[in-house]
Symmetry: C2
Subunit: 207 residues, 2 copies
């Protein structure tokens, strides 16, 4: 006797926090039993219903191996400098593709913030969740191909005041090992980036 | 003039929530400026300092392609049935390996909850973070190899009262496409699982 689970109500707990909120969810489980669950969410989600995008850039260079761009950024909630994909919150009125191209340009300097000039969106994932036992936080994983010419210089970032982000170009084939080294050196690796690297490595072993 | 950023203080906001908490972080940025940040965290983290493990199982069968196990589970914070890796919170006194073997046994039936009998931990990632702009939530990604014999039956799950988890064995080479189909059918895919599948697919294209 199994029925489709459903959300009955969502109530916000009172707090003085501004950017985040805690919620008390009432839901009905597969047996029809009413149960409770707590969730944390951003207060900033745009009408599009997606919090953020993460950008997997593929740098396609005539004489260098296919590479991606990772960033180093201090993240107060982790209390550490985290190695991540370029990423950003979706602004009101943006879609996943435009957010991805804008953030790629800001955080890494690649592209112009729009498609064209050798920069194209190759893939947009379905809406993915980050930690669905704790939060509804969600995102699109956007793969962006960047076609480079032999002597293109490394472009400059366009960071906002107060943003401190270091970028690094890494051949995809070296990504897993590079992340291992970061971890040994006291950095913390983001789970999405670590998972992409693991998937790549497993393909080399089991594909 | 750059200095190492650091956390100055972490204060908990008052709420009536039990399992989650919101925190007000004061930190000093790379220019020495004092700044604020909000974070959401679980109240349940064990002394080991890691919230959870996610388990990438590799089923090694004599005549079937290398496969992994994914689960379907309704997640109230996402308001949807999420397709995920088997996973679970680290109990007090457990390490990543023992949590992984216990949860793999409970959620999928594979193994005995301990190592041996063809079940071995192949890799434990560094401590990874899930959404470090919002939370310190962290985990280990544990790769577990399960050696099967030709006629081994599909084992039964050992779920707790109130757990409703459907498991599914998927050849690694089909994982990306299987997840695409789930998304089309109205399920939500977990970001870590989606990232592993993307990494595998990219290796096929760019390795």
């Amino acid at each position: 006797m199994s029925q489709k689970p459903e959300i009955l109500s969502v109530e916000e707990y009172k707090t003085d926090a501004k950017w985040l909120k805690l919620e008390n969810i009432k839901w009905k489980d597969q047996t029809g039993k009413e149960r409770g669950w707590e969730a944390a969410n951003r207060s900033t989600r745009s009408k599009a219903g997606v919090d953020s995008v993460h950008i997997l850039a593929i740098l396609d260079h005539p004489s260098k191996p296919p590479s991606t761009i990772i960033i180093e950024q201090f993240r107060p909630p982790a209390g550490a400098t985290v190695i991540e994909l370029p990423a950003g919150l979706v602004d009101e009125g943006e879609d996943a593709e435009s957010t991805a191209l804008r953030e790629l340009h800001e955080e890494t300097g690649y592209g112009t913030g729009k498609s064209g000039d050798g920069v194209s969106v190759e893939d947009v994932s379905s809406v993915l969740v980050k930690d669905p036992g704790m939060t509804g936080a969600n995102f699109n994983l956007v793969t962006v191909k960047v076609k480079l010419n032999e002597n293109d210089p490394e472009p400059e970032q366009h960071l906002e005041e107060g943003e401190h982000i270091v970028k690094r170009v890494v051949p995809l084939k070296d990504l897993y090992d590079v992340l291992q080294t970061y971890a040994k050196d006291g950095f913390v690796v983001d789970g999405l980036l670590g998972s992409i690297a693991l998937g790549w490595k497993l393909a080399g072993k089991y594909a």
